[in-house]
């Protein structure tokens, strides 16, 4: 059995912040930020909560299937490092807000920026234990602007607020392939309960390019798929330089690596979901595609999921 995408949705913070905002009070410039990250704008919340973004993305996702029997949704996973509160879980609040059947396995997952990929793998595993036709709703949601040190010129421009949602089921087909890597380390990237995000950009860059390339190669080898046979690599949208380096490492053109980080910045566990929603809107996820999703993040964590010959479900 393999994962099949049914639909997607997204929501982003209501304020658009361009690079000049940072240049207005820090020793930086639009050009410096563009060259080091590829980011032109990011969306920050005004007064929205993480739950607000998660709910909007989930509603946008489910709203695309108006006739859907929501009781088929048996698994709900929310990936986030910026939940509004520890308890109740974001996923539990969503169950109530979305009016989902209480007969639901819902929980939050924290794997930092790897959260979306990790959640999808967990959803895949869980769906196998439910009756065929059951659905998993996956939501990555973050409000990073409230956890950013706005005086830290090395990273304050990187982060955005948003949520990405997707609905999945299992269908007959070639098994998906997953690989993960965890390297416990608190020197490279931290986010405390009080302390804002601290990051050693160079070390993270090195980890991201080195380890993400490795897990991608691992799933391709296990799936017996050559890099050029993958239609789209959907990578965590952290930094254009990281994505460019991975494309070069795999000896592929950048057109297989769609991005939107120029507009949204790094939205951590939401980024791949937001990207998928845009590709879905553009019709780029219709038909048969082989997709490779990959993320890396604090922990340090890293994961890749190969959806081989991915058949998009037609509702």
């Amino acid at each position: 059995m393999k994962l099949s995408l049914m639909t997607c949705g997204k929501a982003v913070g209501s304020r658009v912040i361009d690079n000049h905002h940072f240049a207005s009070y820090l020793d930086t410039s639009d050009q410096w930020i563009r060259e080091r990250s590829g980011i032109l704008t990011r969306h920050w919340v005004e007064d929205e909560s993480t739950l607000d973004l998660a709910r909007s993305a989930a509603e946008a996702c489910l709203g695309r299937l108006p006739g859907l029997d929501r009781s088929r949704i048996r698994v709900l996973i929310c990936a986030s490092v910026t939940t509004d509160e520890a308890v109740p879980a974001l996923s539990a609040r969503l169950q109530e807000d979305l009016g989902l059947d209480a007969n639901l396995f819902a929980f939050d997952l924290n794997a930092a920026c790897s959260g979306y990929v990790y959640s999808l793998q967990v959803a895949r595993s869980l769906l196998g234990s439910y009756p065929q036709g059951s659905l998993a709703l996956l939501v990555g949601a973050e409000v990073l602007s409230r956890h950013t040190d706005m005086e830290d010129r090395t990273n304050c421009f990187l982060f955005g607020d948003g949520a990405g949602a997707s609905l999945w089921t299992l269908e007959q087909g070639a098994e998906d392939v997953f690989a993960a890597k965890t390297v416990g380390n608190r020197d490279m990237l931290t986010l405390g309960h009080v302390e804002p995000i601290r990051m050693d950009g160079r070390a993270v860059f090195r980890f991201a390019v080195g380890e993400m390339s490795e897990v991608i190669r691992q799933v391709l080898a296990e799936g017996r798929v050559r890099p050029e046979e993958v239609d789209l690599f959907l990578l965590h949208q952290a930094n254009q330089r990281i994505i460019d380096a991975i494309a070069r490492s795999l000896e592929l053109d950048n057109d297989r690596f769609p991005t939107n980080l120029d507009r949204y910045g790094n939205t951590s566990s939401a980024s791949i979901g937001i990207l998928m929603d845009e590709l879905y809107d553009q019709g780029l996820l219709d038909g048969t595609k082989t997709l490779c999703l990959a993320g890396f993040g604090g922990g340090m964590s890293c994961g890749a999921l190969l959806l081989k010959g991915h058949q998009i479900h037609v509702a």
Binding site: E35, R36, G201, R202, A203, F205, R206, V209, G210, R241, A245
Partner: protein, 80 residues
């Protein structure tokens, strides 16, 4: 051999002309590299020469000659 490979890698990574990549050329000041370029350069050197470049060495690689010396340290049998 080391120098030729280093020049090729620098040219490919930074998109500069080969003639610019002289031994005294400063990566940041002359070849417009930034801190992430330096990390990626180190990763490419590691891959090509099958070595491990430490973070402190990356910071010390300020010129093309510095890079060549670093590779020489790990690969003493290779021709410069």
């Amino acid at each position: 051999m080391i120098t030729k490979q280093v020049v090729d890698i620098v040219v490919d990574l930074l998109g500069v002309e080969e003639a610019q990549v002289t031994p005294d050329a400063m990566l940041i000041e002359d070849l417009n590299a930034d801190s992430l370029d330096a990390v990626e350069l180190a990763m490419r050197l590691e891959e090509y020469f099958n070595i491990k470049v430490e973070d402190t060495e990356i910071e010390d690689m300020k010129t093309v000659a510095d890079i060549v010396r670093t590779i020489q340290h790990y690969c003493p049998d290779l021709e410069v």
